[in-house]
């Protein structure tokens, strides 16, 4: 009966109105995922999904950010959720490593053209879906992920079902059924990491959750104890479970407030060193660098120690690449991980002059970068808490800037409009303007 009590609490809480701080953080999560979805909207993987849908009778009236095609809601959810997570640049809940916005945004957006709800209803639907994902994830962390499950997919279907149920206006009974049905459809193996299958997981989770809600709306029931039964959701997915974490102060304490937004599109351990390098860029001012030393936590060497990345994916696991390109370009975004920049001779040349100097005394969210110029001059930048960490979350302005750059690759003129409409969503009476903006850039 866990799904029943959880859905009753959530439905009651949302009818009272969600706290402002929750809505504000949900807007930030939405803004970030709008950016990542648009940035990846014409990636090869999303092209494949949209291509199959248009070639094989998967069209309809649902839209995908940054795309011209109209798909049926299940295909739209698959495409949007995949795009949202494609560059691994979406939001991250650090304790569970869930990327909670992708699946719920995808499921919600797929319904936006048929359920023209108020902007705040869309936001609340996302908030509920994100919160339930994080609660389920907390109960299985770390055992479930460590075993090899991609937690974003396994909790994503349930989150997407809750989001879709709220947009459809389902009551607590039907919402509970939607959760139960979706809990029988978790998916995602970590074997697929490093391939096109990884981002597919939140996309498929969104589609599964959406179908679960549509079935619940038509009266299909689920086992009331689908989550906690001896052979239920948790029993299948995790060798250990702390069931109490699912409902602990649910509705009063919001785990989604712990959501974070990556400032750089690469592994988090690299971030402090990259921020230090960016900071040194104006001081280097194009002068010749003879040596660079990165003072960092030992995990940097272990996890992102690749000194000679050969392509965009391996560069994401090279702190040395991030530091080199940060010193040269002064900014590290998706462009700095594109093949052209990873293979550029100036970048490769500087990478060869960067050395990692690990020390267990340096915290994980800290780093220092020392540069020696050919003039003999020494430069140094220290980062105590990196941008995007829990201690130093991205400010609204920094998040807007990140999203602006993500959007600009697709809509050079559209970023300001999209950010403005997304931030204004809580006050909008319908979703039309928002949908038009993120689909067309206008």
């Amino acid at each position: 009966v866990l799904s029943r009590s959880v859905s009753e609490t959530l439905v009651r809480r949302v009818s009272d109105g969600l706290p402002d701080v929750v809505r504000a953080e949900t807007v930030r999560s939405l803004l970030n995922v709008v950016g990542t979805s648009i940035a990846a909207s014409h990636s090869e993987t999303v092209d494949v999904i949209v291509g199959v849908a248009t070639q094989h009778e998967g069209t309809g009236s649902a839209r995908v950010p940054g795309r011209d095609e109209s798909l049926d809601p299940l295909n739209a959810a698959l495409a949007t959720g995949t795009a949202a997570h494609l560059d691994d640049f979406d939001d991250t809940h650090l304790e569970t490593v869930v990327h909670p916005a992708a699946a719920v945004f995808a499921a919600g957006l797929a319904l936006a053209s048929s359920y023209d709800v108020a902007g705040v209803t869309f936001l609340d639907a996302m908030a509920l879906g994100m919160e339930i994902q994080l609660r389920l994830a907390l109960a299985m962390t770390p055992w479930h992920y460590d075993q090899g499950w991609h937690i974003t997919g396994t909790v994503g279907s349930v989150g997407a079902a809750v989001t879709a149920a709220h947009l459809m206006g389902l009551d607590a009974t039907a919402t509970s059924a939607a959760m139960g049905l979706a809990s029988s459809l978790p998916l995602g193996h970590r074997e697929g990491f490093g391939t096109m299958v990884k981002p597919l997981h939140p996309g498929k989770a969104a589609a599964n959750g959406l179908l679960a809600a549509a079935l619940a709306r038509r009266g299909v029931a689920a086992a009331p104890d689908a989550l906690e039964a001896p052979n239920g959701y948790f029993a299948m997915l995790s060798p250990h479970v702390e069931l109490s974490r699912v409902a602990d102060r649910l509705g009063d304490r919001w785990e989604l407030l712990e959501n974070t937004y990556k400032p750089y599109p690469c592994g988090i351990v690299s971030h402090p060193a990259i921020e230090a390098a960016e900071r040194l860029h104006p001081q280097v001012a194009g002068r010749e660098i003879v040596g660079v030393t990165v003072h960092c936590h030992p995990l940097v060497v272990e996890l992102t120690g690749n000194p000679t990345p050969g392509d965009g994916l391996s560069a994401r696991f090279s702190t040395i690449h991030g530091v080199a390109v940060g010193l040269l370009d002064g900014t590290v975004g998706l462009e700095q991980y594109a093949e052209a920049r990873v293979g550029a001779t100036d970048v490769a040349g500087l990478r060869a002059r960067v050395a990692l100097s690990p020390s267990p005394d340096i915290p994980r969210d800290s780093a220092a970068v020392e540069v020696v110029l050919d003039t003999g001059e020494h430069l140094r930048a220290d980062i105590d808490h990196v941008r995007g960490s829990l201690a130093r979350p991205l400010t609204d302005a920094q998040l807007d800037e990140k999203v602006r750059r993500l959007i600009s690759a697709r809509f050079p003129e559209g970023a300001a409009r999209i950010i403005e409409v997304t931030r204004a969503l809580p006050g909008l009476s319908g979703l039309g303007e928002f949908l038009t903006a993120i689909v067309t850039g206008r």
Partner: protein, 328 residues
Amino acid sequence: MTEMNEMHEMNDLTGMTGMTVPVSRAWADLVTSTTWGAVPPVSQLVARRVLSDTVGSAVAGARSEPVERLVQALSDLGLAGHVTVPGRSETWSSSIAATVTGAAVRAGASAVGGAVGGAVVVDDPVTHFRPAASVGAAALAAATASDVRLGELLTAIVLGTEVGCRLADALEPGHSGRGWDLDGTVGHVAAVVAAARLLRLEPEQVAHAVAVAATEATGHRALGSSPAAAVQAGMAAGDAVEAALLAERGLVGPPASIEGRRGMLALMGDHVDLELAASKLREGLGDRWVSERLAPEPVGEDGDAVLRQLLAESPETPWRSVLASLDR
């Protein structure tokens, strides 16, 4: 700490066991090289029995409550297309047609608990995996969408059935013991093999399609015979057709999707010996047909009207004309 593990995994992209050919690739070679004439007579009978179960149960379940509600939900979402399903007037995309058909097969059988409208329910005597709901439904939808000959449809079905039986053997008994539903989980992978064959994918594409189906494999035994159970069986068929189409268009997955350290056997079995299981999944493919055990004892003694007609049809007959004559 888990974020660290996520990145660590991504540094180690292979995760493969030894230097042998990946299981999915071995299956791909089987899928692309098998001809109907090379399938032994007992396995040919198994294919006909599974097809008979599929058609018979799909018709029997076509008006069942789970299918009615599924069709309502799919219509609410605005889904449509041109592919028919047995016993109903709505038409769908090939993947959704597979979903509806699979749900009808499962609902059709559970409605009467065994024989349905004269059709024999064909399940694996060892694991109780029932190929009709996933393999049969996916093959039926893909064949109806593309117009193939009966022999090609039956080949696809026997290939999916064989892979399904071997995979179920590798996962059981710990898999359903933990709560997974074989028709939903193994069904995803078995059905994608059948769909890949009917779409004539290249070997590399077959392996990628298997990877997509494996990571999407899901389904929960606790649902029993509820409407939801029928839907999740159908989703194995529908996701499989979709996975094959995605792979055909260029989607790429991991090589060791089945036997990798973070793959299907490791996550969904109960302490499976990955290397041993992988070798059994590859062993004697095309020579030894594990799925022979789905033939009746003694061979050829059972049967119903649908099966007798299928037994009599030439493999050269177009599937659509077989279907039209079955509809009479």
